[in-house]
Amino acid sequence: MADNRRHAAVLGLTFLLLLLLPQLATALSKPDLLTLGSQIAIYAIAAASLDLLIGYAGMSSFGHAGFFGLGGYVVGILAFHAADNSLFLGIVPGLTDAWLVWPIAIAVTALAALAIGALSLRTSGVSFIMMTLAFAEMLYFLFVSLKTYGGDDGLGFRRRNALPWIAPRDDVAFYYVCLAVLAIFLIAMRHLVQSRFGMVLQGLRQNERRMAAIGVAPYRVRLAAFTIASAGAGLAGALNANLLRYVSPDSLHWTMSGDLMVMVVLGGAGSLYGAVLGAAAFVGLQSVLAQWTEHWMIAMGPILVCTVLVARRGIWGLLAGRR
């Protein structure tokens, strides 16, 4: 029970800090903090969705950025066609309303994940890691080759997706939107991992043969998890494109998949909320270290190694204790 109280305290403080971040940014006259905050919230969604796979299902997907970037490109491409009144593939008109665009981004990534997962999940272990990596790289090169949508240079657009009651240029409001989406996403994920489906998923991580022997069809359960997690990455990608008003192939590069994995491990795999701490630590360290040197990964590497060695359950485990 003491553990539970400690959980609630760590979680409550984290969210209180995030809630007050805009005020903090004003008080310290560091407006950059706000952008960093939005970035943290967005990465936290992507990392939490990856944690469902790595921490709960025991499926180390190395292609999560593929879905993150794909979600972003849905936003970018629809904004591009809305701006010049043209049609995507000659049939789909451009869109800028968030309540339409974001669900479409989620649906498109979920469909892509269903197809990619259906093939990748025929393998397991290292082959699965390589399959997911290969598919994400295919998506990367697909978008590099699409010159209409900027190719290598990426695709910028002028306005964020329109939300009711919220001014598109209000950065503080957009930050709170990201935070709200993160909160809703985490609540949904918490329910998911504690549901029947979540229990079966964790059973599969521990002992697949045993699970089959009690009547579980592993493939279908894993495919559902892969699709749900990837759709979460697509949602995060859509928010990310909105934050930056720009998408580029970098967002689907394998290094992005690696960054998300680092966030999961840093925060503590299998803890879900750890993803928020992992994303905060990653974004914070990156912005601090990048002021010193362009090669900030040189310093990030040892920090990651130390975290893994000292706290096997990541920052969340360090702060909130076991489980």
Binding site: S195, G203, A213, I214, G215
Partner: protein
Amino acid sequence: MTALLQVRGLTKRFGGLLASGGLDLDVHQGEIHALIGPNGAGKTTAIGQLAGEIRPDAGTIRFDGQEIGHLPVHRRVALGLTRSFQVTSILPAFTALENLMLVHLVREGHPFRFLRSARQDLGLQRQARDSLAGLGLLARADIPAEDLAHGEQRQLELAMALATGAKLLLLDEPMAGLGPTESLAMTEILRRLKRQLTILLVEHDMDAVFALADRVTVLVSGQVIASGPPDAIRADPAVREAYLGAEAG
């Protein structure tokens, strides 16, 4: 009397090794049928094929009047055919209770419920407690499975297999790694189960086999060399030479 499980011509080859060489086997409703043989005789491979983990090269498997040779593991479980493993196979990070809850929730057929909490589900908890109580594990319900004693883990595994609602249990060396007292306890548990369901028992512990089995099939190098009541098997000269004699000498 038709057999609950009817195996004909089951054949499996691993490279040059013939693990099952045209195996015929009948397991009748309500009996404990022991499958014995020296190491490497192909007992575990046979179990693997019956459970659906290993695809046979040839042969038919009829269970409860239905051909099941092409079905995946989980479909066979749904029909009432479940196995246990030679090496203890449980979910180590879950408590004993959670291990059983998982079996019951899969059996209820709703693994795709995404929102309602499973751990708080009182119905599942009650079923799981009943299952644990059946094997005397109720007092250990909240202990993580990895922290249970080895004998308790074997009982937990058996409880899980039972909770699937199996008509036929394929038990692969349930006594493996148990001390003499624990072996006797396990023998007693299996004897009690005899009235409820049918068991195909692979076991090296001959005391247990001859105490429990209604019929015994002896496997040597993937071939059945004898099959019949325990007394006949004990007296069979071919068996004595190929197996029991070898062990005695």
